[in-house]
């Protein structure tokens, strides 16, 4: 289903097969997916598995295991994080699609008749944003399963998050990203801060009174006595 809207005389088509206006490179078409912004559709265990598949860590400086993979996420912490995120977007696809992304047949007629819902589909993409619901917001943890990357799913997740935030009146949207993610966010419309601010993260390590966050041991500032 294609909805055609016109903004400033330029036609913008909102559908799965969005033509790239700027680049003429051929991008694979977006597969049929189900996007949900409902928190109750997400199973934290599936989300943890998705994190492991995408090799994405929720800690900024993750512990890397000897075989190169990232330490799996604690499910309880994940649950708390989801509960307190202002916007949560999850993307589901039919399980056959995840295993064989290029196939067009999609299995026998029996499987094709099953409607795609968060229950029948497999979690393939995720993104969330934390905000104070008034002024500012930060986007974290946007991930898409590797076999379905490069198809526009990630961009759709980010655009859905932005749409939900702007509908609440929040226009100051930030995203912390590493080198690999920078190109992706630039494509989605993010850029360096116009006011020239520097991003800084707490990374002071210490010997005693430390809290571990991934592979960093962050020093807890001592109690000052006046």
């Amino acid at each position: 289903m294609a909805i055609v809207g016109s903004i400033h005389g330029r036609f913008i088509i909102f559908n799965n097969h969005k033509p790239s206006i700027r680049h003429r490179q051929r991008r694979k078409p977006t597969p049929p997916i189900f996007i949900s912004t409902n928190l109750s559709d997400i199973n934290p265990n599936h989300l943890r598995d998705l994190c492991s598949t995408c090799n994405h860590s929720l800690h900024r400086f993750p512990n890397i295991l000897p075989d190169g993979r990232i330490e799996p996420v604690d499910v309880d912490k994940l649950r708390i994080a989801l509960l307190h995120s202002s916007v949560v977007v999850s993307v589901f696809a039919k399980p056959e699609l995840v295993r064989l992304p290029e196939s067009n047949t999609g299995g026998d007629w029996y499987r094709r008749m099953i409607p795609l819902t968060p229950v029948t589909g497999e979690l393939v993409g995720f993104g969330r944003a934390v905000s104070d619901n008034a002024l500012t917001a930060s986007i974290y943890d946007v991930m898409v399963t590797p076999t379905l990357q490069g198809r526009g799913i990630g961009r759709m997740i980010v655009q859905r998050i932005i749409r939900l935030l702007t509908s609440k009146g929040i226009y100051d949207i930030a995203a912390l990203c590493s080198d690999q993610e920078m190109c992706f966010f630039k494509e989605c419309g993010f850029g360096d801060d116009m006011l020239g601010s520097t991003t800084m993260m707490y990374s002071k390590s210490g010997s005693d009174m430390v809290v571990s966050a991934g592979r960093k041991l962050l020093m807890v500032p001592p109690l000052r006595k006046s």
């Binding site: 400033h8 799965n16 049929p32 189900f34 928190l39 109750s40 934290p44 265990n45 929720l58 800690h59 900024r60 912490k77 708390i80 994080a81 509960l83 307190h84 995120s85 202002s86 099953i114 409607p115 819902t117 229950v119 934390v130 905000s131 104070d132 619901n133 008034a134 002024l135 500012t136 930060s138 974290y140 226009y171 100051d172 949207i173 930030a174 995203a175 912390l176 990203c177 590493s178 966010f185 630039k186 989605c188 993010f190 360096d192 801060d193 020239g196 601010s197 520097t198 991003t199 800084m200 707490y202 990374s203 002071k204 809290v211 571990s212 962050l218 807890v220 500032p221 109690l223 006046s226």
Partner: protein, 247 residues
């Protein structure tokens, strides 16, 4: 993009293993209001909560005078930072009045005072309702007030001056990430280590709750200030990007 909700007529076609998947789903109540209950600094009063089945059972049994009390779930105890208040600095001014600088976290901040403080520092004005909502929904708001009292008077006398002189707030998802916004100290009180105390207290509270990713966006003038507190600019290539709508 399929956005239709599944109708009950199609339920029969869902294979059996999907029904089992349903029961494994963690039951988030769909009426949970996201974002509205976070960060609100309600006083931690233990409420008498009756479990659903216990209340039915107690109603069925006659002459049952026992009250069904469910202790507040332990997961809620660590979620919100406990409000605290203490005197940070106390000094005597040349004219005899005693000035105390009180640190408090979790106290209600008057948006008008905050607006006046922002003006003093030279920040652009923001809508007051949005300011109030932001403060309510922030994970932690730390404030500094200055109380001046003439020697000999009690602190509770109404003609004491209580002024807001500093604030810092942090938003968080209560588990992994936190971002510190809006750190400001009254210009006439700067240079005394008050800003440092504010930030250190915030970091301490966040780390004690195991929140490891603490980030902030610093103006070029204050990068050095945060560097001294243990913040690293662009660590390991991580950058912050902002959204600019292209029409």
């Amino acid at each position: 993009m399929q956005t239709s909700s599944s109708s009950p007529a199609l339920c029969a076609l869902i294979p059996v293993d999907c029904i089992f998947n349903c029961s494994n789903q963690i039951p988030y109540p769909s009426t949970f209001s996201l974002g509205l209950s976070t960060g609100s600094r309600k006083l931690k009063v233990s409420r008498l909560q009756a479990g659903f089945w216990e209340s039915i059972r107690s109603g069925l049994i006659k002459n049952n005078s026992t009250q069904v009390i469910e202790p507040p779930s332990s997961s809620q105890e660590d979620e919100e930072p406990l409000p605290e208040e203490f005197v940070l600095v106390e000094k005597t001014l040349p004219d005899g009045t005693i000035e105390q600088i009180i640190f408090s976290s979790g106290a209600e901040v008057d948006v008008y005072d905050l607006q006046a403080l922002c003006d003093k520092v030279g920040w652009p004005r923001r809508p007051l309702t949005k300011l109030a909502a932001a403060l309510r929904n922030s994970y932690m708001v730390a404030t500094l007030h200055s109380i001046k009292k003439s020697s000999g008077e009690e602190l509770t006398e109404p003609n004491n001056e209580k002024k807001l002189i500093g604030m810092a707030r942090a938003t968080s998802d209560h588990a992994f990430n936190a971002t510190i916004w809006d750190v400001l100290v009254d210009p006439s009180y700067q240079g005394q280590g008050l800003g440092k105390a504010l930030i250190e207290k915030l970091i301490r509270a966040l780390l004690q709750r195991d929140i490891g990713n603490i980030s902030l966006f610093a103006d070029s003038k204050v990068v050095e200030f945060y560097r001294n507190l243990g913040f690293e600019p662009d660590p390991e290539g991580i950058k912050g990007m902002f959204w600019y709508p292209r029409f």
